[in-house]
Symmetry: C2
Subunit: 104 residues, 2 copies
DNA sequence: GCCATTCATCAATGAATCTTGATGTGGATG
DNA sequence: CATCCACATCAAGATTCATTGATGAATGGC
């Protein structure tokens, strides 16, 4: 069980939820506090907190406390990491493209 | 519930499983029949079939029957689609980066 | 036609995950 | 200290998903 694939699977899982993608969509314009996100996304505070935690644990988001409020933002490295992951899924050079025919 | 996000969530979900990522990893070198994949990945035929179906339904893989064998390969458009999805997660221009401070 | 092979599908179980509602925690205010 | 607010955490239920084992469908050889 390759370690990279385990890591990749976790990243993709964090992105496999609509609510979490909505959170990311909102954070594309910059950091937001939880209360703003609660207003924007029709969801409960408890559920939002759960999804934020999921994204944070994966490394997609970072948080920052300021007084009573907690601000979340996209981790700068997150997009690079994702593009690296996508790169690891790309077909390799066509030189090996012949079928091995081990089934015959 | 934006339709794009629904679609993106489905794609990411398809990639959120280690076995499915292993399948993709194998197919990076070109198409393979199911029997080869069964040998390579320590898994049962039934389970492999389930995961192949998941990937195919999402559009990541295509299949092709040839006699008794079914060959799976990476869909050419899949990687482009993924890069498009990743692009839709990127932070927007920094001009809007000011915090709205609606919480005050 | 009969049988073996390759793969898909189905039903059932168990595990992981999402969701909800209640409670807990830490900071700010008076 | 008492209280309110923003947010996190917890326990319980609901749902979705992965896995297994058995059966079915299509192909090809005899």
């Amino acid at each position: 069980m390759p370690k990279d694939l385990t890591r990749a699977a976790r990243w993709f899982h964090a992105l496999s939820d609509e609510t979490r993608l909505q959170i990311i969509e909102r954070l594309r314009d910059g950091e937001q506090c939880v209360c703003d996100l609660t207003d924007m996304l029709a969801t409960t505070q408890s559920l939002l907190s759960f999804h934020l935690k999921t994204l944070k644990e994966t490394g997609i988001l970072t948080d920052r406390r300021e007084g009573r409020w907690v601000y979340y933002s996209l981790s700068p490295e997150a997009i690079e990491e994702l593009e690296r992951l996508i790169g690891s899924l790309k077909p390799r050079g066509r030189g090996l493209r012949v079928s091995l025919k081990r089934c015959d």
